[in-house]
């Protein structure tokens, strides 16, 4: 499937788009910027995956876009919902958007539910706010929603509290609450990270089904490429507060065009194929208040050259619907293609082990 490259707008405006969006936190007297200018679009009904290491700004971006981070977070840039900028919205208008146009679910479902209110009350609250339903009508709708998210024995569950339900069930409840406002987009922030593998599969299935039935858009945040690959049409890879690569899922997994994405893929152990030694990305993510100049990934990048330290690389086309923010994109693309051809069938490290403090000793050990 082809997606319009941002900028080459089609007929209708995208459902949701971020333009040069930045987020900073007030820190004492100064500010620490954690998201450094993001451009992202989400078409109606599309599923967009966001991956990246911990702390790269995946959650903050979306929470800040809906102004859910409180006063300490300062944002710039635009957040357009159907072409209207959310930053101009009053708290009231925004409240309608939250839950009404954009539903959110989070990582730890149990702590995300109010511990002393009944499940039914919490679903009912969303129904009242966004659909004006109360009393019997609300209850009927709540039952339908619980049914929809696959909770058996719904009438009883409505009267229970979060701690009486398992994590998987609570995540279903969260989804039901998100669905209550019949939103256009569901933003799911690591919805399965806290859940077991078998439960994770259930939830992912559920989200897929709901999307199929309602045509709702999806922003799925995860650090697990597997989860994203499972559900998303398109992926954006974030690194240190920036989007470094975005492409259709298959495209990105098949031929990653950014050294960081390649490194991420190479570091993943696999259940299939022969067992090979993993190739980790050395070093660690720079902290937001100590960003390297130029490309943030350069200090860890095996392909980095001197000029990577000057100026921040911008996203540039790297194929159809494929953007990558690397200064050496052209050079590397050629190199990788040659390498792929040469080593077809062999499983060799994609990237070199870089910041390994005792590289020589390491060799000796593995010998």
């Amino acid at each position: 499937m082809l997606h319009p490259v941002p900028g080459s707008t089609g007929a209708a405006p995208p459902l949701l788009s971020l333009e040069d969006f930045t987020v900073a936190f007030a820190q004492g007297a100064g500010r620490t910027r954690v998201v450094h200018g993001i451009d992202l679009t989400l078409q109606r009904g599309e599923a967009l995956g966001i991956v990246g290491e911990s702390g790269c700004g995946k959650s903050v971006t979306w929470l800040a876009a809906l102004r859910l981070l409180g006063k300490r977070a300062v944002t710039t840039g635009r957040v357009l919902l159907n072409g209207r900028d959310l930053s101009g919205f009053s708290e009231r208008e925004l409240a309608d958007v939250r839950g009404g146009r954009i539903g959110l679910i989070f990582q730890d479902p149990t702590s995300c539910l109010n511990p002393i209110l009944r499940i039914g009350t919490q679903i009912g609250e969303a129904l009242r706010l966004h659909r004006g339903l109360t009393g019997k009508a609300a209850e009927r709708e709540a039952l339908r929603l619980l049914d929809r998210v696959g909770i058996a024995d719904a009438p009883r569950r409505l009267r229970q509290h979060a701690h009486e339900l398992s994590g998987g069930m609570n995540q279903r409840v969260m989804i039901a609450i998100a669905l209550a406002g019949e939103p256009d987009v569901l933003v799911a922030d690591e919805p399965t990270t806290a859940l077991d593998a078998t439960i994770q599969a259930q939830i992912l299935d559920l989200i897929r089904d709901i999307r199929r039935d309602t045509g709702m858009g999806l922003v799925l945040i995860s650090h697990d490429l597997g989860v994203i690959a499972d559900l998303c049409d398109r992926v954006a890879v974030m690194y240190a507060g920036r989007v470094v690569e975005t492409a259709a899922t298959q495209d990105l997994l098949g031929s990653p065009r950014h050294p960081y994405t390649r490194g991420l893929l190479a570091a993943l152990p696999s259940l299939e194929g022969p067992r090979v030694r993993l190739t980790p990305v050395g070093g660690t993510v720079p902290s937001p208040d100590a960003m390297p100049p130029g490309c943030a990934f350069a200090p860890r990048c095996a392909y980095a050259e001197a000029h990577c330290g000057n100026g921040i690389p911008v996203l540039q086309p790297a194929g159809t619907g494929h953007l990558s923010a690397c200064r050496r994109l052209d050079a590397l693309m050629g190199e990788w293609q040659r390498q792929a051809a040469r080593e077809a069938g062999r499983h060799d490290p994609v990237v070199q082990d870089l910041d390994w403090p005792n590289r020589d000793r390491q060799r000796e050990l593995s010998a």
Partner: protein, 328 residues
């Protein structure tokens, strides 16, 4: 040759208080058997609460078992804190999940690596404690300069290296790793996995490697045990086990793993939640969620028995192979 670690019919239960103050028994581990040879790695996988960590603590004698027997290099392991128990500590060590939590924020990492030597009074010997600790720093790939740092001044990967160095400083024969990489980022996790493998190659200790991530276990283990509700339901070589799971639970678990490579793979989605260990289902504990359960599954507990070459499974539906061919 006797195995390094031999666990027979291990069980552990906790007393829990119910809603109305009544006492229940929670069978966290319920009849676990396995052996582990020196220098080998046994991976243990299973869902949250299936008893992995409890098994680890029992094996190390950190907690008394309610049933069963553990022998370590021929000696029984008990949880009575006597001098024998203390001496045994030198030979078996543990690596925890969250490296930051596993380190004392108040001490430099160097001091913490030396601490076990001090506790065991190993101040003399060919190396001073500091030399020994520095040698291990080197082995786990930490610069000597980091010796004086505090845990929060290191990165996640570096902290886990410190934890490993500390575990190895007493030269243990067995290291129990309880989800050692779950708290780490993907790229850092790969560093630690590699390091674990390298260290085993160099020092030859055995690993009991616990994880809920099948992919990681496959990467590191020589043998895998799949646990479900306090029991091992399947055991075998990782590749075989993950490619041709014998037990329906293993099968579902493997198929549930989202993988980068295969999209739209047919998934077996299990219905329901993992059962409550307080009231275990009768018969095969897995039967309420098992798509293939039959009458016998509801009534009889399936024993863990050989089902193929080097493979054990606890399922009524999988035909057993004869003991002889299994032993081969």
């Amino acid at each position: 040759m006797t195995p390094l670690l031999n666990v027979r019919d291990l069980a552990c239960r906790y007393r829990v208080t119910g809603k109305r103050g009544e006492t229940h028994w929670l069978h966290a581990v319920d009849g676990v058997n396995f052996t582990l040879d020196a220098g080998r790695t046994l991976g243990v996988v299973g869902e949250s609460g299936c008893g992995k960590s409890t098994t680890a603590k029992l094996v190390l004698g950190l907690q008394p078992a309610s049933r069963g027997r553990i022998t370590f290099a021929g000696e029984p392991v008990s949880a009575t804190r006597d001098s024998h128990w203390r001496a045994m500590r030198r030979r078996m060590q543990m690596v925890h999940q969250d490296p930051l939590a596993a380190l004392d924020r108040r001490l430099t990492v160097g001091e913490q690596v030396i601490e076990p030597l001090i506790i065991h009074g190993l101040k003399g010997g060919p190396q001073t404690p500091r030399e020994r600790a520095l040698a291990l720093f080197d082995a786990v790939g930490l610069r000597a300069a980091m010796f004086e740092r505090y845990p929060h001044e290191l990165s996640g990967g570096q902290r886990q290296r410190v934890v490993l160095a500390r575990a190895l400083v007493l030269d243990p024969e067995l290291v129990v790793c309880d989800e050692p990489i779950s708290a780490l980022d993907v790229s850092v996790a790969a560093q630690v996995i590699n390091l674990l493998q390298d260290l085993q190659g160099r020092f030859g200790m055995a690993y009991l490697f616990i994880s809920h991530d099948l992919k990681v276990v496959r990467q590191i283990a020589d043998e895998v045990a799949v646990m479900y509700l306090g029991r091992i339901v399947e055991q075998g070589a990782p590749d075989d086990l993950f490619h041709t799971p014998a037990h329906p639970y293993t099968e579902a678990l493997v198929s549930a793993i989202p993988t980068v490579g295969q999209r739209d793979r047919k998934r077996i989605v299990l219905a329901g939640d993992p059962p409550n260990p307080v009231d275990r289902p009768a018969g095969c504990a897995f039967h309420p969620r098992c798509p293939r359960a039959t009458a016998i599954c509801r009534s009889e507990v399936p024993p863990l028995r050989p089902v193929a070459e080097g493979r054990l499974a606890a399922c009524h539906l999988v035909p057993a192979v004869s003991a002889r061919s299994a032993a081969a």
